[in-house]
């Protein structure tokens, strides 16, 4: 299954083929068009991600990578003009950003924002409890929450002192990116979209982030890495690599495609954009 994700035949139980096939699908983007301030950035993106898979979307600056990530998360600055997005067969585009989050979408921001006055712990506990509430689970109190997050903090090298500071306040670039991964590990989304999580990181920080992402990999989850450089993909092995050029996916392939791009750049694909 992992070696041939395009296959729509599930190995094992086939109880009414269609139903089983759909359950394999985590995310389905169909002909997505989106604009910002009236100009169209995504010109019909089509993409399918199955459960348990890691996909990478690569592309030059201005190709629409971050736009895609933000549109999936429901950022109000973007207008979807055409197309459909299904999360486990559920229409995603009709949901508000917080509803999407509660359904299991997580966006690791490229530039995480600071929120003075609100501690990282309080923020994350509030978020987790909203999601737990939505899933019919009991809310965690401060003590239980703290016990639960301690392990995950160690995993991404986040010191307890950082945890009590205001959200991202005074964090270095690397600390902010690690904080994004930390939040992902705590909130346990179904689909994690990581927007240029590797940008601005040194090798050590990169390894920590990659570790965190790899540890998160599971059968019932999917990860979408949005990245400019191949470097991250040396540490996180993708199942599929897609190239986004001028708002369209022009080529898809296995992990070797990333190496090919590293060697040749994006120019050789420009013909495909039309």
């Amino acid at each position: 299954m992992k070696n041939n994700p395009q296959s729509e035949i599930a190995i094992g139980v086939t109880l009414g083929g269609e139903i089983v096939r759909r359950e394999m699908r985590m995310l389905e983007i169909k002909n997505l068009h989106a604009s910002v301030d009236g100009s169209e950035i995504l010109h019909g993106v089509t993409l399918k991600i199955n459960r348990g898979e890691i996909h990478a979307v690569m592309g030059p600056n201005g190709s629409g990578k971050s736009t895609l990530a933000k549109v999936l998360a429901g950022h109000q600055g973007y207008e979807v003009t055409k197309g459909e997005v299904l999360l486990q067969d559920r229409d995603l585009l009709s949901l508000s950003p917080e509803e999407r989050a509660r359904e299991g979408i997580f966006l690791g921001f490229q530039y995480p924002v600071e929120i003075p006055g609100v501690s990282n712990m309080y923020f994350l506990k509030t978020a987790l409890n909203e999601i737990r509430k939505h899933r019919g689970l009991e809310e965690l109190d401060a003590m239980d929450f703290l016990a639960m997050v301690k392990e995950k903090m160690k995993m991404v090298n986040i010191d307890e002192s950082l945890a009590n500071r205001s959200v991202n306040e005074g964090f270095s670039g690397g600390e902010k990116k690690r904080n994004e991964i930390f939040q992902m590990l705590v909130l346990e989304p179904k689909l994690a979209i990581l927007d240029e999580t590797d940008s601005g990181l040194d090798i050590d920080a990169l390894k920590i982030v990659a570790n965190g992402v790899n540890s998160f990999r599971r059968e019932d989850r999917a990860i979408l890495l949005v990245t400019h450089y191949q470097r991250l993909l040396s540490y996180i092995t993708p199942d599929r690599v897609h190239v986004l050029l001028d708002g369209r996916i022009v080529k898809s392939g296995g992990k070797e495609l990333a190496l090919e791009l590293e060697e040749k750049g994006y120019g050789w694909l420009e013909g495909n954009a039309a």
């Binding site: 924002v113 600071e114 999601i131």
Partner: protein, 481 residues
């Protein structure tokens, strides 16, 4: 009472649940302000001669004064002759216990959420409930009396503790002080009086609830709190007012005096009617509050959360006269819809090694205009004075405004001053970040605003802190966007 309750429930908006009028017969003085009215007020209260004289001096002085126009607020001219300056519920003989209080009045207090019976039994907070111009029930008087603490209505104090009134009234805010304080000195109705004797720590928070009820009655409370040597008192002031179409004037005067080693903590959670969404109606809150740190190592703290009134003009201040005295001011002021606020504080350093702290948080939303005006004055003899000022503004939306006018006057070179100011907006990206983690936009704003106000809320007595947070949530409803 049932009928009016039903009508009220139909009229009440989510934002303001205290919009109702009690159907009690009022003893209302004719409209207008002249010497006869002043005499009428004094005679209704059976005041001794010295009190009437003081009122008349103030009134005559008021006639020579001009309304101040320097504040950064705009309002239609007030017709002082159109208001009534005295209103008292007819059934008032001074009850000895709760059982003797007019049951209609008790029902009113229950609606306000301060059932006297409950408070008397559970909370342990002594309540001096002021109904329009006359104080009604004073609970726990006996308990406090055992410690020698006097907590009664101002009117009562004029009758029973005239010596203290004569000694301290006007010692912090003289009747000539400013236009509104002078007006208050002439026509003040009632308020609270507190005296804590030497070495006594008041065991409970003292509190007062106000209401402006009868039409066109401006309210002029007068409060005087005296903490004798080595004593401690914490006082809570919380206000509500019914929905009205005409603007109502509220010009109170509060004087605090702290002797050697004494501490007075004065907390306010203000919930006056702010005017409707178009800015119509609402209370004009023009208040003079001042504390005098008379003795050495004395301390006065003002903590306030202001979310009501159409127009707010107040500067709780501290005169740091005693050596090593401390003055503090913690404030959260919210303006939404069309509210305007010009508030701040004055810290006047006179003695040696005095210290003042100012933390002011202004939140503007809708078309609200929030102005902070702070003055720190270090006089020549004030060696070793220290001041820390922090003035932060938060804007919600792009139609509101925040303005800061800090004044610093230093006449002694050993003074140390620190001033920090910041202005920020709740950015859309901050809200989106919260939403992307599963938190709704409203909850995000509330979380961020509470984080912004944390330093001030920390200073409030616990019961008030909870009320303040709720109030903030209600007053910022509909401001997200």
């Amino acid at each position: 009472m049932e009928t009016s309750t039903t009508n009220i429930e139909e009229l009440a908006t989510r934002e303001y649940k205290y919009g109702f009028v009690t159907q009690i017969e009022s003893d209302l003085a004719p409209a207008g302000l002249n010497e006869d009215i002043v005499r009428l007020i004094s005679s209704k209260k059976n005041e001794p001669e010295f009190m009437l004289e003081w009122r008349l001096k103030a009134f005559r002085h008021w006639l020579t004064m001009e309304e101040p126009k320097w504040a950064n607020i705009h309002y239609p001219a007030i017709d002082y002759q159109a208001a009534h300056y005295y209103s008292a519920p007819k059934s008032n003989k001074g009850p000895m216990s709760l059982d003797e209080v007019d049951p209609e009045l008790l029902k009113t207090y229950e609606k306000l959420g301060i059932p006297l019976r409950e408070q008397a039994m559970l909370a342990g907070v002594a309540v001096d409930a002021v109904f329009d111009s006359v104080s009604v029930a004073t609970t726990f008087k006996e308990k406090l009396g055992q410690l020698g603490i006097i907590f009664c209505s101002f009117s009562e104090a004029v009758l029973n503790h005239a010596d203290l009134i004569r000694k301290y009234l006007g010692s912090v805010v003289p009747y000539t002080d400013n236009f509104f304080a002078t007006l208050n000195s002439a026509v003040f109705s009632d308020g609270s009086f507190v005296y804590v004797p030497k070495g006594v720590r008041c065991p409970m928070e003292l509190s007062t609830y106000f209401r402006i009820n009868a039409e066109k009655t401006g309210q002029f409370e007068r409060t005087l709190i005296i903490a004798d040597e080595g004593s401690y008192v914490s006082y809570l002031e919380g206000c509500t007012a019914p929905m009205r179409d005409e603007n109502q004037l509220h010009a109170a005067v509060v004087e605090l005096i702290a002797h050697d080693n004494a501490t007075i903590k004065y907390s306010t959670v203000q919930n006056w009617y702010p005017g409707d969404k178009e800015g119509k109606g609402g209370i004009y809150n023009f208040v003079t509050k001042r504390g005098k740190c008379l003795g050495v190592r004395s301390k006065i703290s003002w903590t306030q959360v202001e979310t009501g009134s159409a127009i707010t003009w107040k500067y709780p201040s501290c005169i740091l006269q005693g050596d090593n005295s401390v003055g503090e001011f913690y404030s959260v002021a919210v303006t939404n819809n069309y509210q305007q606020a010009d508030t701040g504080t004055k810290m006047i350093h006179i003695g040696k090694n005095t210290r003042s702290t100012i933390v002011s948080k202004g939140i503007s939303a809708g078309h609200g205009q929030n102005t902070y005006r702070g003055m720190v004055k270090i006089l020549k003899g004030a060696t070793g004075a220290r001041n820390y000022s922090q003035c932060d503004s938060l804007l919600l939306g792009d139609k509101c405004g925040a303005h800061t006018f800090p004044y610093i006057e230093v006449k002694n070179s050993t003074a140390r001053m620190e001033h920090e100011a910041s202005i920020s907006k709740i950015g859309e990206d901050q809200i989106f970040y919260c939403q992307q983690r599963g938190i709704s936009a409203e909850a995000a704003v509330s979380m961020i605003v509470n984080g912004f106000c944390k330093e001030v809320f920390r200073e409030l007595p616990m019961e008030f802190a909870v009320e303040a947070q709720k109030l903030l949530g209600v007053s910022l409803e509909g401001s997200v966007g």
